[in-house]
Structure formats: structure tokens, C-alpha cells
Symmetry: C2
Subunit: 366 residues, 2 copies
């Protein structure tokens, strides 16, 4: 049985070899596994351009985000979260839940965060100890200007937290130019592993001062790092099979030419998607200059016969899994172009979309 | 390449079919996956004897424990934790970190929790809203008397939290007789899945009152349950492959005759272990009447030539992975008898132990 193709922001369609890597049971305290974990952490630091500490955090990517917010902001810290989508909002929600003093600075979901507005907030409502943004807002697929924001944050003396969940490994980021202090991402995004843990890249100058600040035992980022450093082991049982898959996924990233090579394929995928969907009369929701090649939101066709539930399930029946929308105001669906997918798969998806729209009786609006 | 056998408390040696189940990429919001998750939750409730809600929590088992302690104890709640090993201590540590008012009642690590002493503490230092114990202390492998403690807790009007991480699915527990309100366990223990999530069985009468109490967003047990109930989906990305493995593992548990059948095999494994180790002059650390068939602690042989690091690695070289100790005072190692293992594997391990002791020049003390 061949699996459906996943045009989603993760879990993704992964390579056969990545899945094959999970056919082993390794002890979590055994030397072979410890060596693999050390290799993963070293490679993540390499991908960050060096000069960071890599900490792996079990659970969903959101757990890793919460481990950062809950561990690196001191009791008297103040957080500014710039919000232009669901994942920015989620960071604000986490801070609120943890009792961290925070301000959410809201932007239009269709537009990148404006550095000048952020600078205004830093002046007006500061000082802030920490500023957090999402690099690629998976809500829409738009990219926020991490470089120019990072410069402002650094100039204001605050630490810069970047949720790069759906971009790290698939879009080049110079963490040093962008003054990133903490970057969060996940196993099952652009590195193309399977889900089960997230990871944090932390700048040692900041991170080394955070001992004892964590509001949770499970999500204590500093204690997690110290455990991994001391004996190479996780404090609590790691998802061993998922880590084996990730080690293999990192090798495949290298084989593809690293982040630059992967970025090129994702752009090809995305270009094919935009072309074919435009031809079907379905334009992307976000302006092209703000759009990432990771995931793209499309407004529901403005036609009385369009029914998303039927559209989704008819595509799924054809082995093509797309992603529902998550916008606060607009009815959208989303199509991911990451994972073990090529332009050929994208073309196949778009043929499926054309076929289903025809069956539904949805004509493209002229 | 054949993997080493894991005589550990998890990650375990799993069946080939459990690992094979991970050779698929399913979308976390797709109907096939949602159906599988519903089936898993239903089956867990069946294993509990009905009348519970099953909530799956991403991450290590400790994350699920923290999700219970952090979500079901109200702001003005008071927790009594009975401690006779590392996992009881960990619950006390979690409560302290979360700012939950709690008392740790310490017992000898070699002895089960004494119900009369617990009753005394309930009277003397009460009232407590919640009492927590570990069913099978993986530190030593000893079993705590969950039934008699549960009766006392219920009589005192408190809610009863049981960490049954290493026992649920492998040792029969009547959750109703034992008045258990919250039971926590994990995918990679007696149900013999792979690591990546834990689960909570919650009694609805208590659990339904806990909305809004959680101290964390990621580990909010009530919100996690509501998400799973509303549309069958996880709030945050689940470890899809690990869940597929778990669904298969539940089928294998059924095929073995359910919990009773599995318990019988574990007892056979454990009996073989004790016999062979006794014959080597290495008696178990815990008295037989307190010992579970899950994992067994053995004191280091009292011999100058015994070197645990060499002992461990020579066994590992023979494809036999044992587990280090975790006792606060005694030098012990541990041998797990759970997972896809039979008496034949246990006998093979013990032959390996004999061989290695001979090479090390460790004679059995007469």
C-alpha cells in the first residue's frame, strides 16, 4: 500500500530511508545511542553556523517553544511578542499561562511584522528583556524580516527568540547577522524527520545565565542541556526511534547540498504550485514578496459549489492530503511544499485539484 | 544487523511488527490517523476496565506525570506524595517546581509504602486534596500496595494519582477497587510500543472539574482531552509514527491474552532471572514478596574485581543491554524482564552474566 502524499507543514512525507532508520530498538542509555545524539546536536550547531548550544526537547514543537519561554525569561523579565498569525498568538498565550509579563504587538496577518512599529513599541512600552517572533508564520506561509527585527532587538539590549519551526533547515538564516539568541524548530519540518521532538539553538552567552529559572521540570531547558552535556543522555526517556530517523534525515539534508540545496528544491516546488494554482484561478492569499516556499495559503474559491470538506476528502481519496486553514478571519486552505516531494508531486496535486473542482462544478472566477 | 536485546525498563526490545508499523507517513489531521487515535484511546479505557477518559500526552512519561500534577490540582490544592524511590521523589520535585503545596512522606527504598504511616500523615498533616504514589517503583522494581492506599485516600476524600508508568498493561490493577482517579503510564513500557508519548486515564467525575487549572499550555491535560474529544485531533503535532506503533502494540497485547497473559509471561521471565542469578550468587535487592516481575535490582557483587562499567560494556558487546542503578544509597544494577522477551532470552542473558563474571575474575560469594 502506497501512502498518500502529504502537502502539509508536517508531519511530512519522508524518505523511505528515514522511516527505515526506525527499524531498530536502541537503549536510551547505551553508548551507540548516546553517540548518535551527540552527532545530531553537533550537526544542528553546524547548521546554525556554529557558536550555539543545541538542546533537544521531547514532544511537539510547541513544547520546545514553551521550554524556551518558560526557561530563559527571568522572574522579573518582560516579553514583547510580535503577532501576525496563530503561532505568534500561541507564544503570547504560553507567556500568559506561565505568568510571564508580556505584551502582544498585533499586525495584519497578510503582512510581515513592520520593524518600525516594533521599534516604536520597544521605545514606548519598554524596556523588554526578551522579544519573540515567528520566522515563517505557518498560518499563511509569510516570512517575517528576521534580520532587521534582530538588529532592533539587539540595539534595545533584549534577547531575541525566534520560532523558526517551519523554516529552519529549508530557508537560509544567518543567526549571527540576525542577532538570534534562541531559535526553536522541530524534527518533522524542513529537516524532514518524523515528529516526536523539537530543538533549541541557544547562544551560550545568554543561555548560561538561565540556570534555575525554569517554571517546569519536564520543560527545563537548562537542565535538559546540562543532562545532555554531562553524560550525553536525556533526563527523561527520549523518542529513540524518532531520533534515529532524524539522524538519517540530517544525512539526507547534507546529500541534498545542505540548506541551500533544500531551499532550491522548495522554491521549485513552490513555483510549480503557484503557476498551476494561478492557472486554475486560485491565487495565493499572501503577496508574492512576503511569501515563503514552505507553505502557501489559498482563499476558498468564491463559488457557491465550493465545499471545503468535500474538496479535502476527494483530494485525500486521490492520495493527496492538503491542510486546512488557520486564519482568524478568512476561509483558506493551505498547501505545503516541504518534505520528500518534488515538482512532479506538486504537478500531480494540482491536476487533482483541477479534477476535483470540475467534479464539484466549481468554475474558476474570471 | 541484529539489535542488542534490551533488559531495561524502556525503551524496550519491541516486536518486528511494532517497528514495521512505523513505515508510513500519515497526516496528523487526516481521517485515517484520527480513527487510529480514537481506537487507541478506546482500547486504553477498556484496559482500565471502563469508566475513564484516556488522554495522550506527547513527550516522555514524566511529561504526562507533570501534566497531571500541573493540571488537576487546583490553585489552593495540597498534595501528599509517598516516596520510596526516584520516581516518587520526581513527583515531589515537579510539585515543588510548579509551586504546588506538597509534602513528601519518605519510606525505606527497600520496603513498600506502609498504609498505616500514610493514614497517620493524612490525619496529622491533612487535609490533602490529592495523594500521589508510584505503583511499581522502577528504582528497585518493588510494588506498592495500591489497593489499600487507595481505600485510605478515598476515605480521606482526596483524589488518588498513581504513576503506573512501568506496570500498566503488564500487571493487573483494578482501578475501581483501588479508587484510582488518575493513572499515568507510557507507550514504551508494558504495552510494548516505542517511546514518544505518555497517557493518562482520568476518572471523569474528578477530571471534568479541572478546566482552567493547568499551569502550562503544552501540558494542559484538560485542553488536551477536549481537543481529542472535539475533533479527534491533538492540539499540537503528535508523534504519528510512534502512535502507529502503539496501535499495533495494543493488538499484540490482545493476542497475548491481554494484561493477564502478559503478566504470566513477565512472571515467567522474572522467575527464570531470579533462579539463574541466585545460582550465580547474586540475590535480588528487594525481598521476593515486594518484588514486581517488571524490573529487578541486584546489588553489585561484593568482590574487589567487580567493575560495573566493564561488566556493563562486556555484556553489551555480547548483545545484552542491562540497566544501571538509581538507588540513593546502594550500588545496584537493574535487569528488566519486560518487552518482546521470553525466558529463552533471560537464560541467554544469565549465561552472558556468568561468562563476564568469570572473565572479570569475580567469584560468587559463598
Amino acid at each position: 500500500m502506497s501512502d498518500k502524499l502529504l502537502f502539509t507543514p508536517g508531519p511530512l512525507t519522508t524518505s523511505p530511508a528515514v522511516k527505515q532508520a526506525m527499524q531498530r530498538d536502541l537503549g536510551s542509555r547505551d553508548s551507540e545511542f548516546i553517540t548518535i545524539v551527540r552527532g545530531i546536536r553537533r550537526k544542528l550547531v553546524d547548521l546554525a553556523g556554529g557558536g550555539f548550544e543545541a538542546v533537544l526537547v521531547q514532544g511537539a514543537g510547541t513544547f520546545a517553544v514553551e521550554s524556551v519561554l518558560g526557561s530563559v525569561i527571568p522572574p522579573n523579565g518582560r516579553l514583547l511578542v510580535a503577532v501576525n498569525g496563530a503561532y505568534g498568538r500561541r507564544m503570547r498565550d504560553i507567556a500568559a499561562r506561565l505568568g510571564i509579563e508580556s505584551i502582544g504587538l498585533e499586525f495584519d496577518e497578510r503582512k510581515p511584522i513592520e520593524p518600525s512599529a516594533l521599534a516604536g513599541a520597544l521605545n514606548r512600552s519598554g524596556p523588554f528583556s526578551h522579544v519573540a517572533i515567528v520566522h515563517c508564520e505557518t498560518t499563511t506561509g509569510l516570512l517575517n524580516p528576521v534580520d532587521s527585527i534582530g538588529k532592533l532587538v539587539s540595539a534595545a539590549g533584549a534577547a531575541f527568540i525566534v520560532d523558526a519551526m517551519s523554516s529552519f533547515g529549508g530557508i537560509p538564516i544567518d543567526l549571527h547577522t540576525a542577532h538570534v539568541d534562541y531559535l526553536v524548530s522541530s524534527a518533522n519540518k524542513c529537516i524532514q524527520g518524523v515528529p516526536g521532538f523539537g530543538f533549541v539553538l541557544a547562544r551560550p552567552e545568554r543561555f548560561s545565565q538561565t540556570e534555575g529559572w525554569a517554571r517546569s521540570l519536564s520543560l527545563d531547558l537548562f537542565a535538559q542541556w546540562r543532562g545532555l552535556e554531562q553524560d550525553g543522555q536525556f533526563r527523561f526517556t527520549p523518542p529513540t526511534h524518532v531520533l534515529l530517523a532524524f539522524a538519517r534525515a540530517l544525512e539526507e539534508l547534507d546529500a541534498e547540498g545542505g540548506i541551500a540545496g533544500r531551499y532550491a528544491r522548495y522554491r521549485d516546488n513552490h513555483r510549480a504550485l503557484i503557476q498551476d494554482m494561478q492557472a486554475l484561478g486560485i491565487p495565493p492569499y499572501i503577496a508574492p514578496e512576503h511569501q515563503s516556499p514552505i507553505i502557501t495559503a489559498f482563499k476558498f474559491p468564491d463559488h457557491p459549489r465550493f465545499d471545503f470538506a468535500r474538496f479535502y476528502s476527494m483530494l485525500s481519496d486521490r492520495g493527496l492530503v492538503i491542510y486546512p486553514g488557520k486564519l482568524s478571519r478568512e476561509n483558506c486552505f493551505r498547501i505545503g511544499t516541504i518534505g520528500h516531494l518534488t515538482q512532479r508531486d506538486i504537478r500531480r496535486l494540482c491536476r487533482g485539484v483541477a479534477e476535483v473542482l470540475e467534479i464539484l462544478g466549481v468554475k474558476s472566477p474570471e
